[in-house]
Amino acid sequence: MASATEFSVPRSALTPALYRVVARGRETADVVTLWLESLDGERLSFRSGQFNMLSALGVGEVAVSVSGSPSDPGPLRHTVRDVGAVTHALCSCDVGDVIGVRGPFGTDWGVTGNATPHDTVVVAGGIGLAPLRGAVEELAAAQREGAGRVFVLVGAREPDQMVFLDDLAEWEKAGVVVLITVDRPAPGWSGRVGLVTTLLANAGFDARHCRVLICGPEIMMRFTARALNELGVDLASIWVSLERNMQCGLGWCGHCQLGPLLLCRDGPVVNYLEASALMNERER
């Protein structure tokens, strides 16, 4: 028989806690970052890569990764893309508005408190940088303390859809190797043009001894993992963030099932060895 602790869930797992929007920033035309503080003053403890269920009160609930760093003592940070009714309501929040937060849920990137002497390569496509942002903050801090080098490779459709431009500049200033590329350059763009995989070969990381964290559209993640493998990266060293229809956050409702995984509980961060077959799974 299972013990009671096996079924224990975080205090806020089923009931949203109320958070006030204390700051709001526009990243791109359809991406907004919200900074949130709990009305009861309690600080949410999380690990980079985990997500919360955010409620636009009276509209609905949606899974959104935390885009802040666990070591950041400031407000809880979420970056949301306006793609539907709930995310539109969240993106439309003003400072002072109250939303619901349940979580944190799911697996993490494994970087929190886990410095390594080896290189870490972070590959993001589009808003896929949001779930990785906290991890990069932690990795950059660890690199300053003597841990392995950090490489951040980012692809976006167009230059004006690149998120966290200030952070990218700060990370580069802090010694992180930052490489960006776009699919469609705008007039005046002097940077790289092409798929994010084209950044891999010359980035300069040690392919034989590195870990790779990837977040973006699944096809992009598959191509990136394949290209990394061709460069000599062990597939077991690659971690991807998978997303399905997260609802309960606890692995109870089954909406986010992908093969044997319930991604709200067993994901979103999954090792590529396990993920590769599942990423080809047709949803029924």
Binding site: V80, G84, T87, G194, A201, P217, I219, M220
Partner: protein, 154 residues
Amino acid sequence: MRSIDELVAAHPFAAGLNDEHLALVAGCAHNVSLDTDTMLCVEGASADMFYLLRRGHVSIEVHQAGRGPIVIETVGPGDAVGWSWLVPPYRWTFDARAIQPVGALAIDGACLRAKSLEDTTLGFALLSRVTQELLERLQATRVRLLDLYGEPRG
């Protein structure tokens, strides 16, 4: 200073070529340094060279009157620039421009074609490499056509 033979052998495009083939390719190559904005290829011009990039980046462009150059993709160290030397009518179909100071091996396409006709094993080895690079570019282009970053992701 490294010899042309050594520079060719060190380029990823030549990985796996045997010594005899390396010497044949090196015999058609010379080392070049190109300033920013130098045109490596010009649409419609005779495609008599191709380039193995050693440093710096090159943009593959098409020019549109009234709009200027439209960048299709950029390539960098380890990549090759220019395929039109391989197939008639041997004319460039796109522009290629150095967007940084570029170091490259410039290879005489006519010279290499003639050697490949004489030694078909060289021709096969080169075609295998060209096909590999073309395949990678084609796949990357197809993925870009999917416009993946437009997909919802929270």
